[in-house]
Symmetry: C2
Subunit: 237 residues, 2 copies
């Protein structure tokens, strides 16, 4: 079973057709999870989330009452505790529900402290083991996470670029069979190699490293950025 | 002298009134810098940037010809080289122009690999020394950066929350005189403590650490997130 989790990040950054995606996941009997405001969004899409996590302190008693009736597994987080809502959710879906993989939506953008919370939680000792089974998706980006070893990273349709980001110190990082390769790179702290591309005709690249946690960030430019507003229109005149 | 630099990130994430802000900076004889598409944006605002940095490979020959005539100091970056455009820009403004501080706009959002490039560059040995003189601003966030030592961090008007993010391993991190304090925290990798607040009536908090690079992220929720679209409107019904 897979989990599809919606967090409280800005709706503007959701990938297109997210409602259809969650509806299909529900039809396929996958686990639907809402974190904080993300739980509300799911019910407002007409879906029936299986699990909700959050402190829900921004909701009215009426909103909360509805959720308590309709969500089978509602977990209240303690805002003062060490565990963030996202972290609590990850432990829950992997440990209590035993899912194979979780797709995180609404985890980026807006307040960037929230984004960094979601990114850095994967480095914590209790969460790190789950990182390779987490995929974070927004309108322009897809994050996959890797533990030390040798990996073949598959190209993702519609994403032109990829970056390799060591989120902590890294030892003997290698990128092979890509447009820009890298050999035996080590660093004491985070480092990112961006704007790489798959080789023409190739459907994967090689990634290996001996120590650290590495994110591969697939990204794309938005077509609409080009003729966006009056500034840019003036540019073409 | 201060530098105001506009990078190529999404215009939607600019803070409000950015044009007036850059116009005032120019009137005050501060250094106006455009990086890549950010340089175009500045000229389209009717401003006269002093410095431009980028490979400019997305521009037409006509657009580039205009920039070459109008921008006094135009530096072409080599996309295959180790130095990113943002990093080249930082070295330039601090080393060649000797500015005291640089405000970075358009450095966040959209492609998150670009955001992480801008964040992680401050960790590089050649750039790290400049980090305390860099302030990164977008619509909802303001990043300030600190090197080891004892600091009084001043509250910023209009930002309700702050987070303390160790961007690399950190030793003996302390947060004092804040709503949530922290004592003698050490970690081998990045870690973030978010959703902290200034004490009522207090205009600063105490931050100290012995090793590492720490970002303080001031953030605010957008009022318009509450009644944003049909989903949320339905929630209130």
């Amino acid at each position: 079973m897979k989990a599809y989790a919606l967090l409280g990040g800005p709706q503007q950054l959701w990938p297109p057709k997210i409602e259809a995606l969650f509806a299909k996941a529900q039809a396929d009997k996958q686990l639907l999870v809402g974190v904080d405001r993300g739980l509300l969004y799911l019910t407002e899409m007409g879906l029936s989330p299986d699990v909700g996590v959050g402190d829900f302190d921004s909701l009215t008693p009426r909103e909360l009452g509805k959720l308590e009736k309709s969500v089978p597994d509602l977990r209240y987080s303690n805002p003062v505790k060490d565990l963030t809502d996202s972290e609590l959710m990850l432990r829950l879906v992997f440990q209590d529900y035993g899912v194979d993989q979780v797709y995180l939506f609404g985890a980026t953008g807006g307040r960037l402290d929230h984004f960094l919370v979601n990114l850095f939680m994967l480095l914590k000792p209790a969460v790190r083991q789950f990182a390779p089974r987490v995929i974070m998706i927004d309108q322009q980006n897809r994050f996959e996470f890797f533990l030390p070893g040798r990996h073949q990273v598959a190209a993702q349709p519609h994403y032109k670029y990829f970056a390799v980001a060591a989120l902590t110190g890294v030892h003997d990082l290698n990128i092979g069979a890509a447009r820009y390769n890298l050999q035996h790179f080590s660093a004491a702290g985070p480092q990112i190699f961006s704007s790489n591309e798959f080789r023409q005709g190739s459907s994967c690249f090689r990634l290996s490293f001996a120590k650290g946690l590495v994110a591969v960030i697939f990204s794309k430019d938005l077509a609409k950025f080009a003729p966006l507003n009056s500034h840019q229109k003036k540019a073409g005149s």
